[in-house]
């Protein structure tokens, strides 16, 4: 007779070595190479969901939702440019390259953005006619690789964005693996077809903020001081970076938090470098205010913006506008459950698919495969994006009116409270129901 076991232990997974962690260890052991993927940080981070608005009641006077106007337009580049850009909604489309995305997807971004009077941004790899043709306001990125960089396109741009970094990979360069270096992409980037393109993380002809000041003047001279010049940084030492960007002569500063997406980079980079978007905004605003440049040098914030509440919260913290990337792709149809069967075949699932660098996107967006590209209709994609942008704008207006503001830019930190101690400290607004802002108030 066998001895009966008295006590059964329930199998217990390690919080440290969870399934995902152990799967990654096995994958690394199998392949000998780090995991590369697209999108932004997937870990749980302090984010805008941890903030709430204080709507008006007795002490504040709200505005009527359908009768009283709430301005959403913003003018960017008022510091030096002869022709600043005015956008009708403060939600812009972030830089995403042709190469990472199909030409149709870029066209759809242009169509959607133009329909609501906002701007799109090129990306590593240059400007395509599809994008310029469909984008009424196009920001031309000036990147370390300078792929496809030419003065004719520079002069066609409505603004120039000097990219120093990206929230998904501050300190890292671009990456576009061989599967997506088709003949057209290779030609635009002057690369052999099929190479794994790893572009530089530093600009080739300047090395610090003093040099950058001269570089920006060169760009202004080439464009006869017509268009605004943005500086984009990944969110890390944001307070100092913003001060240096102002000194270097930026008209507009773009701060991209670690939730911001990328077409491809190492997972370890995405998850472990940078700071959350919410933590970066107060640093940037403080830097601008100390220099007397808040609202004179406009601040665009990106990284994990999903809805009108996120837009309104960014603006309440002091941003002049926001940029969206991942959310725009989702609006176009990325990760749509209708492709679930194919996501499964790729070892993923709708909502989690992030191997954008492999060029096998079932939705036909982050690919250069002609057959997959045919699945995506740029006109329909543009319509969907325009709808989504309108919703973001309406939602932000709703919240602003509730706070008694007739302009989105009148939202202020005083309109916000935080749900957690962490978010209160990062956003520098009081913990809900208290007057306590950790880090600024002493006990």
């Amino acid at each position: 007779m066998t001895e009966k076991k008295k006590y059964m232990t329930v199998p217990r997974e390690s919080a440290t070595f969870d399934k995902s962690t152990m799967a990654e260890i096995r994958r690394a052991a199998d392949t000998g190479i780090y995991d590369i993927r697209g999108a932004g940080a997937k870990r749980k981070l302090p984010h805008f969901d941890d903030l709430l608005f204080l709507g008006a009641s007795m002490s504040r006077y709200p505005l009527e939702g359908y009768r009283e106007k709430c301005n959403t337009s913003v003018t960017l580049g008022t510091r030096f440019a002869k022709k600043p850009i005015t956008i009708d909604t403060p939600v812009t489309i972030a830089g995403m390259s042709f190469g990472a995305l199909s030409a149709y997807a870029k066209e759809a971004l242009g169509r959607g953005a133009s329909a609501v009077g906002t701007s799109t941004t090129t990306g590593d790899g240059g400007m395509t006619p599809e994008e310029r043709g469909q984008s009424s306001k196009l920001v031309y990125q000036y990147l370390p690789s300078r792929y496809g960089m030419n003065p004719d396109d520079l002069r066609k741009a409505d603004a120039i964005e000097v990219v120093l970094g990206q929230g998904a990979k501050p300190g890292g360069g671009g990456m576009l693996l061989g599967q997506k270096i088709t003949e057209r992409v290779a030609k635009m980037r002057t690369l052999p077809m099929g190479v794994d393109q790893r572009s530089a993380c530093r600009h080739p002809d300047w090395t610090g903020p003093d040099d950058l000041e001269i570089k920006i003047k060169e760009l202004r001279e080439i464009t006869d001081w017509q268009v605004p010049i943005y500086i984009k940084v990944g969110a890390t030492r944001t307070y100092y970076d913003v001060k240096l960007a102002v000194k270097a002569g930026a008209d507009v500063i773009v701060v991209d938090g670690m939730q911001g997406g990328t077409a491809a980079t190492q997972d370890v980079f995405i998850e472990h470098v940078g700071i959350p978007t919410m933590a970066a905004i107060p640093q940037a605003v403080q830097a601008l205010q100390e220099m007397g440049m808040h609202r004179k040098v406009q601040l665009i914030v990106s990284g994990g913006i999903r809805n009108g509440a996120d837009v309104a919260k960014c603006m309440a913290l002091g941003a002049d506008a926001v940029a969206i990337g991942t959310a725009a792709l989702v609006a176009l149809g990325d990760n749509d459950p209708k492709w679930e069967e194919e996501y499964q075949k790729l070892g993923s699932t709708a909502g989690a698919y992030d191997d954008w660098h492999e060029g096998r996107d079932p939705a036909g967006i982050s690919t250069q495969d002609p057959e997959l590209m045919k699945r995506f209709d740029p006109v329909e994609g543009g319509r969907r994006l325009a709808n989504y942008l309108r919703v973001l704008t309406l939602e932000a207006q709703t919240l602003a009116r509730a706070c008694g503001k007739n302009d989105l830019r009148h939202l202020e930190p005083e309109d916000l409270v935080a749900l957690t101690v962490e978010s209160a400290a990062m956003a520098r607004v009081p913990l809900a129901g208290t007057s306590w802002i950790p880090g600024t108030h002493t006990f």
Binding site: N150, L154, T190, D196, D211
Partner: protein, 242 residues
């Protein structure tokens, strides 16, 4: 900035326009040159007293002939198209950066990043060039009569770099398809850059480049370097090279 108009900022003598930067601003110079982009009315220009000013003659898009008498600062002739520009002096960082076509000649030395990312045209440096000469070049031809500094032609993609003197450390690191010719010593080669056989087609190419640059050298005295193409696609066995 001076309130003087662009038209007043230049003087004409014998069909050549003169801009004196002791009297006029860089903005006025560049605007006067850009005004030629749409319609060429004045083809020859000379610039006096540059005194190391940055961003001179940038963004040109016309068949102009420009002589700059004196040293220039950063990014002179940046993004040049069509124009032929001669600097009668030394040049600061990024001379002819991102040039598309035309030519730039520096009678003296050039600082770092000469010809950086340039897509086309000819850059001739009659003296030495500093570090990162031809970094990320994308089709330009660069001929240096003297030496080049370290990391020259880093991530060079297309075009040719001819060095009549010596090359510093890590020449051609992470090179793509640039043809590099060096007459003198190479201190070290960068990752994935190797010496290659000099075949007749390369002697012909080099001979044409030297002739175009007005440099009297024997092509047979040069060695050719190029990409081993081992790092074009990531292989874990090459991890130590990164």
């Amino acid at each position: 900035m001076s309130t003087k108009s662009v038209a007043e900022s230049v003087t004409t003598s014998g069909g050549k326009q003169t801009v004196d930067l002791a009297q006029q601003t860089v903005r006025e110079l560049n605007q006067a040159l850009h005004d030629q982009n749409n319609e060429l009315t004045i083809a020859e220009w000379e610039v006096l007293n540059p005194k190391g000013e940055h961003n001179l003659a940038v963004g040109l898009d016309q068949k102009l002939k420009i002589d700059i008498y004196g040293p220039v600062g950063y990014y002179c002739a940046g993004m040049n198209k069509e124009a032929d520009i001669t600097v009668h002096g030394h040049a600061g960082q990024g001379i002819a950066e991102n040039m598309m076509s035309g030519s730039v000649r520096v009678k003296g030395n050039a600082s770092s990043a000469a010809g950086a990312t340039a897509h086309g045209g000819l850059l001739v440096i009659e003296g030495d060039a500093g570090s990162r000469c031809g970094i990320s070049m994308k089709g330009i031809d660069i001929v240096v009569k003297g030496n080049v500094g370290h990391m020259s032609c880093f991530m060079g993609q297309a075009g040719s770099l001819v060095v009549c003197g010596d090359a510093g450390d890590a020449l051609g690191d992470s090179l793509y398809e640039v043809h590099i010719y060096v007459k003198g010593a190479v201190k070290s080669l960068g990752a994935d850059c190797i010496e290659k056989e000099m075949r007749q087609e390369h002697l012909d190419e080099l001979s044409a480049l030297l002739e175009k640059a007005g440099v009297d050298e024997d092509p047979k005295a040069f060695k050719r370097y190029g990409s081993a193409r081992q790092l074009y696609n990531f292989k874990v066995d090459n991890a130590s090279a990164y």
